[in-house]
């Protein structure tokens, strides 16, 4: 081996050695730094809540940064002393009811607006669409009174029925159906399908993406509802989770953080999992569907 060759090898190797060191430091380290700090800031509250959910009150006030010894006791408080499972069942019924009926009713009205011509259609459509500008929150006092008049307090009717119509759902399905070629319905009519058969045999199988988008948004919205259940439900057995979880707070006259956090974590898991798994559907749904 000549000296010149050795020299060539040395020169050739030097940059590659540098390269391996470089690749240890991520490209655009500042971006990683900011992102890590951001993830940390958004994660810390939940992480701490997770820790506290396993701790006894004494451990909470020692600010212990590790899992504690109170998980079993907290679990007992959450599910035996208090009844988080009852609240969860109530919330599941409410969420399923709202999502199911909203989807069905929106599908039906979407069908009516695209595949029928009737006098005054634009007026009816405007009548539906303008409700987008009427947030439930600003008429909640009158709604509260109306539901009291119907004697629906403490029932699932009060939790589900007022939220089953949806301007955005109608709008969403109208847009989607209008994008489907007219030949589809012509062919279906030639085959003698009635409108409902056409809807459930042809349109629905072509609309799962849109249905999924609406369902994801609605599920998270209904699961997280607080103000309305808080107003209309006074019976402890009819509470939904977002209001019922508050009952975990007090025990023996003092704040008990362990059970409260255990409940909080359990209650938050379903929407977070749904959201992470169905992010794409969620986004396409939300661009058209605000909280109605």
């Amino acid at each position: 081996m000549t000296a010149a060759y050795r020299e060539t090898v040395r020169v050739a190797q030097a940059p590659s050695w540098k390269k391996t060191v470089r690749s240890w430091v991520p490209k655009r380290w500042y971006a990683h730094l900011i992102l890590i700090v951001a993830c940390f800031m958004s994660g810390i509250p939940l992480f701490y809540a997770l820790l506290v959910s396993t701790q006894t009150n004494a451990e909470v006030f020692r600010y212990q940064f590790s899992a504690g010894s109170g998980l079993e006791a907290n679990w007992n408080v959450v599910f035996h002393e208090r009844h988080l499972h009852t609240y969860m069942i109530n919330s599941v019924i409410m969420t399923a009811g709202i999502t199911f009926f909203k989807t069905i009713f929106s599908l039906l009205s979407g069908l009516a607006f695209v595949y029928f011509r009737f006098p005054g259609k634009w007026l009816v459509f405007g009548f539906v669409l303008i409700t987008l500008m009427m947030p439930t929150e600003v008429l909640i006092i009158a709604l509260f009174r109306f539901i009291n008049d119907l004697d629906w307090q403490n029932t699932f009717y009060a939790l589900i029925v007022p939220f089953t119509a949806s301007a955005t759902g109608t709008f969403l399905f109208r847009q989607h159906f209008a994008s489907i070629p007219a030949e589809m319905s012509e062919a279906a009519q030639l085959d003698g399908a009635n409108p409902l058969q056409f809807l459930f045999r042809v349109l629905v199988p072509m609309s799962w993406n849109t249905i999924g988008a609406l369902a994801v948004v609605q599920t998270i919205y209904a699961w997280n509802m607080y103000l309305w259940p808080n107003m209309i439900i006074s019976n402890p057995d009819m509470q939904t989770i977002q209001t019922g979880i508050g009952t975990l707070r007090l025990g023996g006259g003092a704040l008990r953080f362990g059970p409260l956090m255990l409940g909080t974590v359990i209650v938050s898991l379903p929407p977070v999992i749904v959201f992470i798994l169905l992010q794409k559907q969620f986004m396409s749904g939300f661009t058209l569907t605000r909280d109605k």
């Binding site: 991520p26 490209k27 971006a31 900011i34 992102l35 993830c39 958004s42 509250p45 939940l46 701490y48 809540a49 506290v52 009926f101 009713f105 039906l108 009205s109 009516a112 595949y115 029928f116 011509r117 009737f118 259609k121 634009w122 009816v124 459509f125 539906v128 409700t131 009427m134 947030p135 929150e137 600003v138 008429l139 909640i140 006092i141 009158a142 509260f144 009174r145 109306f146 119509a165 301007a167 209008a178 319905s185 012509e186 409108p195 997280n224 607080y226 103000l227 107003m231 977002q242 979880i245 704040l255 956090m261 938050s268 929407p271 977070v272 959201f275 992470i276 992010q279 605000r290 909280d291």
Partner: protein
């Protein structure tokens, strides 16, 4: 009667006639017909709110503030009738279809089948949205309680009292402050983080999940978790602050600090949503545009300001509207868990919170309904201002 109904009707008729004559002239119709339709619409509009109110604001013993409110109601009524009529007649005159992209092919025969299909949605909307809306209007002129069913007509007193009530003016200003702080902080931080997270970095998808999940937490849960961290006696934050800096703040019981705790909790919860949409928006900005800018020698900030920011404007606009709705309405749950009762010296009582306090706890439906209407007008007013100022400059090219 200081101002007679006839004078108001004539006023409405003049305004309506002028508006419609103008519309008809521009759309190529006969101005005289427009004049006639406009006069009828305007006269009707002036009576829209005033007949249910029985022109009570213009009675002799009423004060000038009542008359101002009466005039506002008259003008609002005129606008509410004349605007749709002129929009409609403009469309009809230009022979434009009233419903764009209306399908003509492939429709089913028997149009009446549409009625049962629409029935569920329409029934629910009428019963649980339209009826409560009208009922809110009616209640706002009443002294009304839920239990003992008595109602007394109080004209516009529920509104005029608000103007003279310094506590309500405080609530209004505070709501604006809290809402704007949430929207501005949450959206600017989200844009900063999203412009890092959209880069094709190693582990980008993990970062994205770790950043956006708080959206799925409920506003109530945000309140509970922040209660754990920020409660002044045993909270983690005060413990650490005391250890490191020797200060302890009354996060929940100091009127100057408590609104910031609400803002912090809401920003924490709402950032995930904003980051999600800003990442999607940034991914849609064409790379060659940015490269072209870089080649032309535009620095980082100029590239952002002249290329990226305008391309993001539709998303920014959408996010402002959704975030404002969140800040005005949904923060109720966060406030209720963090500072039950509306905080020390009512320092975290927003307009929404006040409505519920009045209507449900104090059982004063009339006042609560009136404040709901003020809240509604505030939100709608801000949305309209946004559409007018920002909406026109929005770049829809993305």
């Amino acid at each position: 009667m200081v101002v007679s109904p006839v004078v108001l009707m004539i006023m409405g008729a003049v305004v309506g006639a002028a508006a419609l004559a103008f519309v008809f002239r521009r759309a190529g119709g006969r101005p005289l017909i427009g004049l006639g339709i406009g006069a009828i619409a305007g006269a009707f509009g002036s009576a829209l709110f005033m007949v249910p109110l029985d022109y009570c604001t213009f009675e002799a013993e009423r004060q000038s503030l009542d008359r101002v409110f009466g005039m506002i109601f008259v003008l609002a009524g005129i606008a509410l009738v004349v605007t749709p009529v002129s929009w409609l007649s403009g469309k009809l005159l230009r022979r434009e279809s009233l419903m764009a992209d209306d399908q003509t092919q492939g429709t089913f025969r028997h149009w009446w089948i549409a009625l049962p299909l629409l029935a569920p949605t329409l029934t629910i909307l009428v019963l649980f949205l339209y009826y409560p809306s009208l009922e809110t209007l009616r209640l706002s002129t009443m002294l009304s309680r839920l239990g003992a069913r008595r109602e007394v007509f109080v004209c516009v007193d529920n509104f005029t009292r608000l103007v003279n009530d310094p506590a309500y003016v405080d609530t209004f200003v505070r709501t604006m402050f809290i809402s704007f702080s949430i929207v501005v902080l949450s959206m600017s931080l989200s844009l900063l983080i999203a412009s890092m997270a959209y880069l094709p970095l190693r582990g980008a998808s993990i970062y994205r999940i770790l950043l956006v999940w708080p959206y799925a937490m409920s506003p109530a849960v945000a309140g509970i978790i922040f209660l754990l961290m920020f409660n002044p006696s045993g909270g983690l934050v005060n413990h650490l602050f005391g250890k490191w800096f020797g200060i302890k703040l009354g996060w929940l019981n100091d009127p100057a600090v408590a609104p910031w705790t609400i803002i912090l909790a809401s920003v924490w919860k709402s950032m995930g949503f904003n980051i999600l949409f800003y990442i999607a928006g940034l991914q849609n900005v064409p790379k060659d545009l940015i490269e072209a800018g870089a080649i032309d020698g535009a620095g980082l900030l100029r590239r952002f300001w002249h290329i990226v920011w305008p391309m993001l404007s539709p998303i920014t606009f959408f996010l402002i509207v959704t975030n404002l709705t969140y800040a005005f309405f949904e923060t109720y749950a966060t406030i209720d868990y963090l500072t039950p009762g509306g905080g020390p010296l009512q320092s975290t009582t927003t307009m929404m919170y006040r409505v519920i306090q009045l209507g449900v706890q104090n059982n004063d439906m009339g006042k609560a309904a009136a404040q709901s209407i003020v809240l509604f007008l505030t939100v709608i007013g801000m949305t309209i201002v946004l559409f007018r100022t920002g909406g026109r400059q929005v770049n829809y090219g993305v």
